[in-house]
């Protein structure tokens, strides 16, 4: 399967920063709130509640990751637009279970991008999922018509 969110070929990445591990979890309340805003049926029994595939995006707002994203975008002097996103699961996440998240942030120039690759494993190191976020950084002058 082609990964639609794969980083553009041939453009070197620089300034790779490794982040984590961070301890993360998907609480029942957080998952229920996330599902309400992303079109899930409300009549599902809460005991069977499935963690949505895209829920781990929430973990990218952890202070240790967010600070790096914001600093890199500021450094590039622009506004970040979400260009592409991918998630690949080895196993479904479980509500109220703890996981370890590690991330790698890198930059590309021409065009300016910030790439974040994230890996989530169980506390014993069993892989659960990988995700990749690519942000295109556009200067205000470039964006204004």
């Amino acid at each position: 399967m082609q990964n639609m969110a794969g980083s553009p070929d041939g453009i070197p990445e620089k300034g790779i920063v490794c982040l984590g591990p961070f301890r993360v979890s998907a609480s029942h309340q957080e998952v229920a709130a996330f599902r309400r805003e992303t079109g899930w049926p409300e009549d599902e029994k809460s005991a069977d509640m499935q963690v949505p595939h895209t829920f781990p995006m929430r973990w990218l707002s952890a202070p240790g990751i967010r600070a790096v994203i914001e600093a890199r975008v500021k450094e590039a002097g622009g506004v970040a637009f979400h260009e592409s996103q991918s998630f690949t699961y080895e196993k479904p996440l479980v509500v109220d279970q703890d996981y370890l998240l590690t991330a790698e942030a890198s930059r590309q120039e021409n065009p300016s991008r910030l790439i974040l690759r994230v890996s989530v494993v169980s506390l014993s190191g069993q892989p659960f999922l990988q995700l990749e976020t690519i942000l295109r950084i556009v200067s205000p002058a470039e964006a204004t018509p």
Binding site: E37, M57, S61, T88, K91
Partner: protein, 148 residues
């Protein structure tokens, strides 16, 4: 894939070309953007501040691409509750703006049977009455039964 995912083909596996029922959402207003920002942690001011959106060359705040992408999984499971989403990747092409509605569509582009059945979907989001906003691809496998 590993033992976390089922490997048993459902009785009736989909056929290539099969369309998923379309779904529409919206119009998505500023309140919905704030709620999504709260539950996802993505409070990028571009999605919240109309002035910043205009500064970035947009007429209005863009709806979070992830909000739209997040609607694919319930659409897929409403179509086929017997599948599990293994991977999902998307490219965000054009923004859908606050005040607009969006429509999800999809079709099966490849099916594999045998001992390791899977299917690949091509998924899209359009602004209702407007342009293609997001194109995505999903890999599905039969859902794991409890105790398997």
């Amino acid at each position: 894939m590993n033992a976390g995912h089922a490997q048993t083909a459902p009785v009736e596996w989909a056929k290539a070309g099969e369309q998923l029922p379309k779904r529409s959402y919206g119009p998505i207003g500023g309140e919905a953007l704030l709620r999504y920002a709260a539950v996802s942690g993505d409070d990028n001011p571009l999605h919240i501040d109309p002035a910043l959106a205009r500064q970035a060359g947009l007429e209005e705040r863009p709806i979070h691409g992830m909000l739209m992408m997040g609607h694919f999984e319930p659409m897929i499971l409403a179509w086929r509750p017997d599948v599990e989403l293994i991977s999902l990747s998307a490219k965000f092409l054009r923004p859908v703006l606050a005040g607009q509605s969006f429509e999800l569509s999809g079709r099966v582009i490849r099916v594999t049977g045998g001992k390791n059945p899977s299917m690949i979907l091509r998924l899209m989001v359009h602004a209702v009455g407007g342009d293609l906003s997001l194109v995505a691809e999903a890999l599905l496998r039969p859902r794991c039964k409890a105790g398997v």
